[in-house]
């Protein structure tokens, strides 16, 4: 059985372009950096105050003052720089990020995202998510297609408290890649291990299908 996290991360990576300035959320989004083709170099911003994030620090070589937003000890690439939170979110809100990749509790056909509050159960808080989603040119949601109960995370209208209105541009799941268009969510690619019927059944809103064969996601 495929490793869902790695599968999603690999397909997210395929959407990033050489030279992109990107903020990667904790979890699957951060994994994406491991799957970039050699021809693609991206610059990674950590909203806690670093641009030019390098690989994780090797054990014993950690700089205790240098972490990423997920609190991992990391390194800074040559040409990178550090800054305070005010500057960090100036970069983010100012539209200087080419892309942000983050997780979802729900995402809908209008490009609305909910990922900071599951009332009664879970309150991670927005952290930098609202700022990132408002500011980045491309908003890529990386998420499993369904909840653990099998409910669709991709829905007609989000019912959970929103992170942002209409800013999601692309959704990458273990089943499909979907682009947000004026007319709704358009299927861009499908996983090789499911049928179109299964995908539709596991999705909470209508999908716009491409003409002809549906391209396959990277395996």
């Amino acid at each position: 059985m495929k490793n869902v996290r790695e599968f999603i991360a690999k397909n997210v990576a395929s959407l990033l372009k050489d030279g992109d300035l990107v903020n990667l959320g904790v979890g699957i989004p951060t994994l994406a950096a491991n799957y970039l083709p050699e021809s693609v170099t991206i610059f990674i911003q950590a909203e806690n105050g670093l641009l030019g994030c390098g690989p994780k620090a090797r054990e014993g070589e950690e700089n205790l003052d240098l972490i990423d937003a997920g609190a991992a000890y990391i390194t800074c690439l040559p040409g990178g720089f550090t800054f305070d939170s005010v500057t960090s979110f100036g970069i983010i809100r100012g539209g200087h990020l080419d892309a942000t990749v983050l997780g979802a509790l729900q995402v809908d056909e209008l490009g609305n995202l909910a990922n900071w509050y599951l009332p009664g159960k879970l309150l991670p808080g927005p952290g930098g998510a609202m700022d990132l989603v408002s500011g980045a040119k491309k908003v890529i949601v990386a998420t499993e297609h369904n909840t653990k109960n099998g409910d669709p995370k991709i829905v007609k209208r989000c019912t959970l408290p929103l992170t942002s209105e209409g800013r999601v541009t692309t959704i990458v799941t273990d089943l499909a890649i979907l682009n947000k268009t004026e007319a709704g969510l358009k299927l861009v690619a499908i996983a090789s291990d499911i049928t179109l019927q299964e995908l539709i059944a596991r999705t909470g809103c209508e999908l716009i299908l491409p003409e002809g064969e549906v391209p396959l996601m990277l395996d």
């Binding site: 305070d84 927005p126 700022d131």
Partner: protein
């Protein structure tokens, strides 16, 4: 310490475990003050966290208002929020930073698209300019700021290594009284005048950190 008083609003710098004035946070908790408005980005209640004393204050009900951005690392906050026993204002991280900056630099409010159409915008004035909806966010200042710098001189000028700047420079500018904790006290002039992150003019007291870095 006489700097800590019931009813104060207190900002504490730091992001996750970096740039947190751990000794000052401990002193704050030990002072026994209550009815505090606590303004932080995050506040982990994990055992052994540098935030533990502040997390204890929240759990013990000594924090009456909490303004916070990232809550995932503190399960108590979620429970207190759901039980409606603590007044929590949830603030997007960039808006938190910008509101603190505004509080320190005489900006009376600012327009941002962050939070438009979400719970964050509830009760706030919305202004549409050129077809774009903005929410008007207000400045945030405090009675007291507890901040951290890697190096500091006796005048309160601080230099922050790595990603330890985070909220510290802005919070130092936005509080009536500012206590700066430092890993290393250096003589005046040792921090080059081009490299000051926390401005000494804002700082009222400098203390050496008693924390060990983990």
């Amino acid at each position: 310490m006489r700097q800590f008083r019931d009813g104060q609003s207190i900002m504490v710098g730091g992001f996750n475990k970096v740039g947190v004035p751990g000794t000052l946070v401990r002193w704050l908790e030990e002072s026994g003050v209550k009815d505090i408005t606590l303004i932080v980005n995050n506040c982990s209640n994990a055992e052994g966290s540098i935030w533990s004393p502040a997390a204890k204050m929240i759990k013990d009900g000594r924090v009456s208002h909490l303004k916070i951005s990232y809550i995932a690392t503190n399960s108590d906050v979620c429970a207190l929020y759901e039980a409606h026993v603590l007044d929590i204002e949830i603030i997007p991280q960039g808006t938190l930073a910008e509101r603190i900056r505004a509080g320190g630099c005489g900006i009376g409010g600012f327009l941002t698209t962050v939070g438009v159409g979400t719970m964050i915008a509830e009760g706030k004035q919305e202004i549409t300019i050129n077809g774009i909806k903005y929410v008007l966010e207000m400045p945030l200042a405090a009675d007291l700021a507890l901040v951290k710098a890697s190096l500091a001189d006796p005048m309160g000028n601080g230099l922050c290594f790595g990603t330890s700047k985070n909220f510290n420079p802005a919070m130092a500018s936005a509080a009536s009284y500012v206590m700066l904790e430092t890993d290393r006290l250096v003589p005046v002039g040792e921090i080059g005048y081009e490299h000051v992150d926390v401005a000494g003019i804002y700082v009222d007291m400098v203390i050496p950190s008693a924390e060990e870095k983990a």
